[in-house]
C-alpha cells in the first residue's frame, strides 16, 4: 500500500505509444469486470499492440482508432478498484493515471453497480477533470430494472458522461465524440489545475494526487485511506441517490436460485463434477469420428505422396524422412488434437462466458485455504487446461508472491490440451473402446484422471506451504460476476481462432522439427543399433521399475518441446525396430503396443506419468520468465516428476505383487 513512490515508467513507455498515432492519448480505466476490454476491443478492433510494462510482469495493451482524420491512441490500463494499489496491475494503473500519461481518461463503469465504481471515478477526479465517464452494460442494467440519468450524472460530476453497451456497440460513437470534447476543454496544466477540493489537508495543492478526503495529502496510511474512502463513498451514495432509479430493489431471484444451486452443500460439488464429466463426454463422443477420419485420410494421402516422391525419383531415405518422420508426426498431432480441441475449447469458453468459473473457484476456495494457497488458483488451473504456459502467466492474478509460486509450480498437474489426446487415445484403445456407452465410460475415466491431477495440486500445494514456501493463506476477495447469456457466435469464433488454431499452429510448428530429429534418432545407428533404441536400452532397466519401458521414458524426454508428440515418438520407435505395420485406425495402435509388451498397467502408468512428469519446454521458459528464478524453475521441473515416478512405482509394485 505504498503510495509515495510512483515510478518513472510512464515516461519510458510514452515515446513508444506516441509513435502509433497523431491524435489524442486516451487512457481506459475502470474496475475489473465492467466490460473495459469489450470497450477497448470495440473501439480499436484489430489495431492493437500488447507489451510488457517495464520492470513488472504486467501485460498491457494499446490500440488506435480513427476520429476526424486523426489516429487516437487508446491505452488499456489493468482493472483497478482504487488508486491505492494492492497488486502490480493496480500499481501500473495508478502510475499511468496519476503521472499524466494521457490527454483524456475514460473511466468505464458498470451501470448495475455505479456506486462502487464511483469510488475510482471520484479518486481520479480529485486530481484531474480531463475525463469521461462511460457507463457501460447499460442494457444489462435496464433488464434488472436499473436506470441511470446520464445528464444528471454529467451535471453532478462536472465531466462528460455517456451510456454504452459495448457488446452491441451502442453509445460508442457518442463516447468518441465526448472524448474529443473533453480534450478540447482540457484543463490539465500544472498552473491552471483546479485546487484539490476534497482533501482536507493540502488545501488546494495542485500536485496533490491522492488526497481525496484524506486528513492530509501525505496521510496515505490505513487511517487516511479509510477516511478518504468513506468520504468518497458518502459522495457516491449521494450522487447515486440522484441519478440511479431502481424499479425493484431486491437482488435478482433467478440469479440467486442458480447461485445457491451451484454452491450449496448438497448440490455444489456434484453439479461441478457432472458439468466436468459432461464436457468430457461431449468432447469424446464428438472427437472420435473426426479423429479417426482425419488419421485415415492423412494415411492414405501419405501413401499417395509416397508414390509421387517415388515416381519423381527421390531417394528412398528422403521419403522415409519426410513421410515417416515429419509428415506422420505432424498429421498425428493434427488428427488427434484438432477435433477434441475444437469441441472442448468452445464448451469451456461457454462455461467461462456464462460466469460459471468464478463459482467453481468459490466452491474450491476452502480447500485451497487449508492448503495455504489462494482461491484464484482454481482459475489458473482452468487456464492450464488450455495450455500450462498460459496458466503460469495467468498466475499473475494471484497477489501474494508466495501463493503465486505455489500456483506456478503446481500448474502442470492440470493436463493441457497437448496431453489430452494422449489420455483420450489410451483410454479409448485400452479401456473403453468407441461408441456411445464407451464414450460415457471414457468421460468418467478422463474425469477421474483430471481429479487425480486436482488432488495432486492440493497435496503439493499443502506440502509446499508447509515446507519451502511456508506461510498461511493471505486474504482473498473474489468478485462473482452475474451470470450472462453467452454470445454463442462470438464464443465459437474466439475459441476456434484465439485458442484452437493458435495452440494447434504452435504444436504443428514444434512437431515438424521434432519429427525430423526423432526420425534421425530412429534411423541413425550406433554399433548396429539405432540411436533411439540405444537410448531406450540404457533407460530400460530404470523405466521397468516404474512399470514403463525404455522407449516410453525416451519418448517422454524427447517430447519435452511439446507434449503432443509423445505417442508419435513411441510409434516411430516401436515401428523402427522391425514390426512395420500400416496403422490406419486406433485398434492397430493397440496391436502395436501389445506387440511391444504393453499391459493395462503400462497404459495406466503412461497416463499417470503424462499427468505428472515435467512441464513442456515452453512452460518451463515461461516459469523462468515469470519467477525470474532458476531455482523455482528447477523445482517446477522436479516436483511433478517425483510425484509421477512415485505413483508409477506404487502401481507397478502393487501389480507385481498381485499378478
Amino acid at each position: 500500500m505504498d503510495l509515495s513512490s510512483p515510478t518513472n515508467n510512464v515516461s519510458s513507455v510514452l515515446p513508444d505509444i506516441k509513435r502509433r498515432g497523431d491524435g489524442l492519448i486516451v487512457a481506459l480505466a475502470g474496475n475489473p469486470n465492467v466490460g473495459k476490454s469489450t470497450v477497448f476491443n470495440a473501439l480499436t478492433g484489430m489495431r492493437q499492440h500488447t507489451g510488457n510494462w517495464p520492470g513488472k510482469t504486467v501485460d498491457w495493451a494499446f490500440g488506435t482508432y480513427s476520429y476526424n482524420g486523426h489516429e487516437n491512441i487508446l491505452v488499456d490500463t489493468p482493472g483497478a478498484y482504487s488508486l491505492f494499489p494492492t497488486s502490480a496491475e493496480e500499481e501500473v494503473t495508478r502510475d499511468f493515471i496519476t503521472e499524466g500519461g494521457s490527454d483524456v481518461i475514460v473511466i468505464v463503469c458498470d451501470a448495475s453497480c455505479l456506486e462502487r465504481n464511483l469510488n475510482l471515478v471520484l479518486q481520479i477526479l480529485s486530481f484531474t477533470s480531463d475525463a469521461v465517464v462511460c457507463v457501460n452494460l447499460i442494457d444489462e442494467a435496464a433488464k434488472k430494472g436499473i436506470h441511470v440519468d446520464i445528464a444528471e450524472l454529467e451535471r453532478l460530476l462536472g465531466i462528460p458522461a455517456v451510456a454504452t453497451s459495448a457488446r452491441s456497440g451502442a453509445g460508442l460513437s457518442e463516447l468518441m465524440e465526448k472524448i474529443e470534447r473533453a480534450a478540447a476543454s482540457k484543463s490539465r496544466d500544472k498552473e491552471s489545475a483546479g485546487p484539490c477540493t476534497r482533501c482536507a489537508g493540502c488545501r488546494g495543492n495542485a500536485a496533490c494526487k491522492y488526497g481525496a478526503g484524506a486528513e492530509t495529502c501525505t496521510d496515505t496510511g490505513l487511517s487516511g485511506r479509510k477516511t478518504s474512502t468513506s468520504v468518497i463513498f458518502r459522495e457516491a451514495e449521494d450522487i447515486c441517490s440522484k441519478v440511479v432509479r431502481h424499479d425493484d430493489t431486491a437482488y435478482d431471484g433467478i440469479q440467486l436460485k442458480l447461485d445457491r444451486l451451484l454452491t450449496q452443500r448438497s448440490t455444489g460439488i456434484p453439479v461441478m463434477l457432472v458439468l466436468l464429466a459432461v464436457v468430457f463426454y461431449i468432447t469424446m463422443v464428438g472427437a472420435n469420428l473426426p479423429s479417426e477420419f482425419l488419421w485415415s485420410f492423412f494415411s492414405r494421402l501419405g501413401n499417395v505422396l509416397d508414390a509421387l516422391l517415388y515416381a519423381a525419383g527421390y531417394p528412398e531415405i528422403l521419403h522415409s524422412l519426410l513421410l515417416s518422420g515429419v509428415y506422420r508426426t505432424v498429421t498425428w498431432v493434427v488428427s488427434f488434437m484438432l477435433p477434441p480441441m475444437a469441441i472442448f475449447f468452445p464448451l469451456f469458453t461457454l462455461l467461462e462466458d456464462l460466469g460459471y468459473l468464478p463459482r467453481a473457484a468459490f466452491n474450491l476456495d476452502n480447500v485451497f485455504l487449508k492448503c495455504g494457497a489462494c482461491g484464484k488458483q482454481s482459475l489458473t488451473m482452468c487456464m492450464g487446461f488450455g495450455c500450462n504456459a498460459a496458466g503460469v502467466v495467468g498466475c499473475r492474478i494471484i497477489e501474494s508472491p508466495r501463493e503465486r509460486l505455489v500456483a506456478v509450480i503446481t500448474n502442470s498437474f492440470v493436463p493441457c490440451n497437448g496431453r489430452f489426446p494422449t489420455l483420450v487415445a489410451l483410454i479409448t484403445v485400452f479401456f473403453a473402446g468407441t461408441g456411445a456407452f464407451s464414450s460415457a465410460l471414457s468421460a468418467v475415466m478422463l474425469t477421474g484422471f483430471i481429479l487425480l491431477g486436482v488432488f495432486a495440486t492440493f497435496f503439493v500445494s499443502k506440502l509446499l506451504s508447509s515446507t519451502v514456501l511456508k506461510g498461511f493463506a493471505s486474504s482473498t476477495a473474489m468478485e462473482m460476476p452475474p451470470f450472462r447469456r453467452p454470445q454463442v457466435g462470438r464464443v465459437i469464433v474466439r475459441s476456434v481462432f484465439d485458442r484452437t488454431l493458435f495452440v494447434l499452429g504452435r504444436a504443428a510448428v514444434t512437431a515438424a522439427p521434432a519429427g525430423l530429429i526423432i526420425w534421425l534418432m530412429a534411423n541413425l545407428s550406433v554399433g548396429g543399433e539405432s540411436l533411439l533404441s540405444f537410448c531406450a536400452g540404457i533407460l530400460d532397466p530404470f523405466a521397468r521399475v516404474f512399470g514403463l519401458d525404455g522407449i516410453i521414458l525416451t519418448a517422454f524426454i524427447l517430447s519435452l518441446p511439446a507434449n503432443e508428440i509423445l505417442i508419435p515418438v513411441m510409434i516411430m520407435a516401436y515401428t523402427s525396430s522391425g514390426t512395420l505395420i500400416e496403422y490406419e485406425s486406433l485398434s492397430e495402435l493397440y496391436e502395436l503396443f501389445i506387440a511391444n509388451g504393453w499391459t493395462a498397467l503400462t497404459a495406466l502408468n503412461v497416463m499417470f506419468f503424462s499427468i505428472m512428469h515435467w512441464p513442456c519446454a515452453t512452460t518451463l521458459l515461461t516459469i523462468k520468465k515469470e519467477t525470474g528464478s532458476f531455482k523455482w524453475t528447477l523445482v517446477s521441473f522436479i516436483v511433478p516428476a517425483i510425484c509421477g515416478l512415485t505413483l508409477c512405482f506404487i502401481t507397478a509394485s502393487v501389480y507385481r505383487a498381485v499378478f
Partner: protein
C-alpha cells in the same frame, strides 16, 4: 442492537456495517465498498460454509470468513 462479526450473520439477513477493524485487508475492503453505514447481505455460501458471497453496493463479493471477520455489522 448488538454488533456481530459479518461471517456470523445468517445467509439472507440484511445488515448494516458498523466499522471495519484494522487488518491487512481493511483498505481493500473499503475499496470494495465495505464502509461504515453500507448495507450488506450474505447471499450464498460455499459447500463448506467458507467463503461466503456478500451483496455490497450492487456487486457480489466472495470473502473468506477470516477476512470478513474484520467487518462488524448490526441488524
Amino acid at each position: 442492537m448488538n454488533i456481530y462479526d459479518l461471517p456470523s450473520i445468517p445467509v439472507g439477513r440484511s445488515c448494516t456495517i458498523d466499522y471495519v477493524a484494522d487488518s491487512a485487508m481493511a483498505g481493500r475492503l473499503y475499496d470494495l465498498g465495505f464502509t461504515p453505514g453500507a448495507s450488506v447481505e450474505c447471499l450464498f455460501a460455499a459447500p463448506s460454509g467458507n467463503p461466503r458471497a456478500y451483496l455490497i453496493r450492487g456487486t457480489v463479493i466472495a470473502l473468506r470468513n477470516s477476512d470478513a471477520a474484520a467487518i462488524k455489522a448490526r441488524y
